[in-house]
Subunit: 349 residues, 4 copies
């Protein structure tokens, strides 16, 4: 039984962490912090947790957090980097769900996130927490940078093709659709029900913060700089990410044979991955089928036998795209079974 702390427990990734950790048999949720709600019971703010979480929100103080074995940061960007070094020095593992340690180049990070990085030295040590790519490094890390939601769906979708060197990586396209919970629990006009319900739009087409993260990841896989056009969209639902990925085959054979080979490639690549599920050829993944679960479901198409492949990749942005993946990382860090606490079946309908 380990003691876990959650910093920033009032956001959607925070409460999702609590939902998962509350039922994890090897974890005691010892500390949950929130500056705004300190002194209030957690289940008074989140009645869904009544009977499952029996703590009050506390202030995010080092002494309290240092009593934990692991501390999760479910905070806005720029918070984890202020406390991570001290916690690591006290022997506490840090799992950051924000973007603070995702980008290896501190200067590039500053440009996209609009602030100086507070502990650039720690970035190199942080393991990028996508287990399907980086499992061994995760196991021995002090700090884990959990991937963003878009980067998780996109990287898992492109991974086998890029590893196998089959596609033109100069012209990748990721057209990705997200539910509104991805915007977080903030009082903002843009994510009101009246603004986002019954409507669909693209946003940040000029450049979204997840672009450098995805590019960094795909570049590492490809072994050379990739060219990616990434367009995020807001879809009128709460949870779910659907990535529609387009890539051109380098060697083009117009045949269903090609597709069968690529299908086999994906199945082989993910055959030992509990949380990545390659659907039978011809199936279309549906975000509802992973809602509430830590799964990523993937399909591969070659429409009309053309040179352009279409890969569909879906996750729950708050689970595999955030809190579930964080717990998967924790399990690896502490030597628990990787799926512990994550055997949850999607809520359908």
């Amino acid at each position: 039984m380990i003691r876990a702390g959650v910093v920033g427990g009032t956001g959607y990734t925070g409460v999702e962490l609590l939902r998962i950790l509350a039922l994890h048999t090897e974890v005691e949720v010892a500390v949950v912090t929130s500056r705004a709600d300190a002194g209030t019971r957690v289940d008074a703010v989140y009645p869904s947790l009544r009977g499952s979480i029996d703590v009050e929100f506390s202030l995010p103080e080092l002494e309290t957090l240092a009593t934990c074995d692991v501390v999760f940061f479910a905070t806005p960007n720029g918070t984890a980097m202020l406390m991570a070094e001290s916690l690591v020095a006290r022997g506490v593992k840090v799992i950051d769900l924000s973007a603070d340690f995702r980008i290896k180049d501190a200067k590039e990070w500053s440009e996209w996130y609009g602030m100086e990085h507070a502990c650039p030295d720690l970035i190199a040590d942080a393991a990028y927490g996508l287990p399907e790519i980086n499992r061994e490094a995760i196991k021995s890390a002090q700090v884990i940078a959990c991937p963003g939601c878009y980067p998780t769906a996109v990287q898992l979708g492109f991974l086998p093709l890029i590893e196998a060197g089959l596609i033109d990586t100069d012209f990748l396209i990721a057209d990705v659709k997200s539910g509104v919970s991805g915007a977080g629990r903030k009082a903002e006009l843009a994510t009101l029900m009246s603004e986002t319900g019954e409507s669909f739009k693209a946003y940040a087409v000029k450049g979204h913060r997840h672009l450098p993260e995805i590019t960094q990841g795909l570049t590492a896989i490809a072994g050379k700089t990739v060219g990616l056009t990434f367009v995020p969209h807001l879809t009128p639902m709460i949870r779910g990410i659907h990535a529609t990925l387009y890539a051109r085959l380098l060697e083009y054979k117009a045949s269903s044979e090609t597709l069968a080979e690529i299908q086999a490639l994906y199945e082989a690549r993910y055959s030992h991955e509990t949380f990545v599920d390659v659907l039978p050829q011809g199936s279309h993944p549906d975000t509802r089928n992973v809602r509430g679960s830590n799964n990523c479901q993937i399909s591969i198409f070659q429409p009309q036998g053309s040179q352009t492949l279409v890969i569909l990749s879906v996750i729950d942005n708050l689970v595999k795209g955030a809190a579930g993946q964080a717990v998967q990382n924790m399990n690896l860090l502490f030597g628990f079974k990787e799926e512990m606490g994550l055997r949850v079946i999607a809520l359908y309908p």
Copy 2:
């Protein structure tokens, strides 16, 4: 480990049963039937179950079902009554999620359901599966009639007041709102997204089939015939029932004292009930806080200190209103812990 069968596994209550049973540590899902999909893998129809359920749909045949310890009927009304007697004769426990055994008066049942009852003799033996009222009878029953979704929310809401004899039972009002999954998984115009999305309406105001069931239940509690006006509504969401109940106090004292007494009454009545949660005074329950869970959350109000009480009662229609309650009944039947397989936290947001 018991063997469970699910007849009618392609409806929403069927797939919800599978979601719960797949993770129940004392149950093997041995048989899942569907006339339409016999021969197809269950997870081909429901990709959310990939990796969790490893069976094919089969035909609903007695010989196969008789190999089970318990058979759930998640079928349209009129099916369970055709097979229940034979299964009981073979020593199989029957848990019926349809309406076949809910109404004690076979003639009244026929009037509301528009068919003759196929085994009226078995009705008297069937236990009404609302554990909070009927726990002891459930434990030793051969056949359990799981309550409807509306009746569950309404009865749990009115129960303490009627037991205590505090209200005028001649004029009870239940204004209840349901998500559209309550209409089931049927190809019908009325529940298309384009018909039900972004709109709200009442339906069946003249008389809904759950009216005699609720009246029968409340009458049993009151010890005399109650008068109930029940108005169901369709609300543009998938899961959830919100009952708003109105009742007039027999002895009227306009004071917050009254309300505190009633709050205490509810808390006492449900203090040993795992799945009924009386919220702190002044809180409003929200269906999202029970979505995917087996909980019922209840609040009591006395607006402006008036004689009319308002009770709010919410459940997930597919869990506490159907599949979760069915598993709760199964746990009681087989002597498992009542919450086994049901410790699920609501999906928020």
Copy 3:
């Protein structure tokens, strides 16, 4: 052609006014104010108005507004009362969509709205803008207090029964469901898509600000103080109000005859009202059928022939519940045809 000003043009009732007024053939939208957006083109904030409204937001200054024939206040409560007197003095008609002039008793208003009233003397002169009750007073008023959305649906629903003296007005119940646009265009957690989507709840059960307004209205009709229990609910859709009203017949005859008489009573009462539509007996109104239109659709039921009547009344909260009713009042004020600019058919699906 009259000149119209809209104060507070950035809220939902403001933009809805612009949608209607832009196509009104007797109105020029001359001034639209917004402190926050002054200097910005209206259609830059609301791209739906591109090509229809060719003005910039300006500051809400008396001199500018005084150039108008009529000024609409689509502002938060407490704003109209600061400017109304000056505008009236300059000969400008004032149509207030906020609550400032709805409650005749300034002290009661202060208690519910938490501020002193700035011009209590004007309240008595203000006409309550529900044309179906108050048409003549509206025609000659200087200031019109547009009813709230809940009060419009509830009063139109109860009106014929109370006028005819058929029901027990001591125990009226209004269980009303609203879309989230009723909460306005404000950056608040409570109305985020992630908070209100796929969920249903009651709120303000202890006492909602529209309670005294409805009570005042019904009391005026009844000629004596009525007793009303009013429970508002938030439903996961953007537009629409559905009122489910319960009332007990004073003289009870259990027969369909009673219902036919009441149906006839409603049809007669509203036969000359363009915007109130009594549906054929047995129909259930659906909020989608009035979405975007100025109509109120009403049905009357007597479930199981009981003493308790159920009246269903639906409107679009932003049209008949706000901007449309405001334009209906304007038409009366200026002698235009009452339906001018309001012949809009609901958007279905």
Copy 4:
């Protein structure tokens, strides 16, 4: 005043036609047919039309329809082709909202639509009803083939770039998202609220019937065969199409200059088009801003100054993608002002 007939008035495009035609000052809705509902008042099926449409559904008989000046077919594919020739012979103009006359190659049509074409000779005479491309041909046509919803959004989005010869037409990508009303008013599992709400998916990735229509249109503009990858998606809302289009510049200059030139190109191309609105540079169109209106709003991006352009194009699938465009065509056919009956502002929120 012309007499109009609507065949197939019970589907979503049919009722949308009625919504528009009912307020068109030069049109009398004389005949509305429906085999299923013949003899029933139109407004009994569609209460939103109460007070606006005063006819009954009739059987689709030639004699009745031949009394009209124009007949709209809002029918499933394969119906219009059975009656069009006879109507044309009687001097009636035919406007077909289905796919029967969209594809010029009858053999290709048969392959995609799975039936023989009943009057292949008429195909060549039918004008493709996209006024922005084909206005003159439309004015003098006997039969008009209204474009599909996806084809409208995609063609208007790509048009200026292809006309100007700026992009590589061998590798065009159209990632398009539709509301569920595009699937029509049919009793089907796939479009139930419980199946499509709170979820997002791609469908028909292997090949959708609108692919040959779009390819035919873009090929005609390009003057050579184009290569298009078209992926349609179902989004959890009722109305709206959002096309995200990707194209590679043939001559690549990494500069914002390029984008400004392309913006100017689009603005010039559509400067005289009432219903195509090029948004200011940097704006993202939102489907809600065209909901209920006949507008198409378009934005152009060059993310990170790359060679790949991103064009966003939104319409209401039932208006500019169906019924509104049909009325626009009718206006051209009969010499009315092109926007007559179509000056409707989108419903926001």
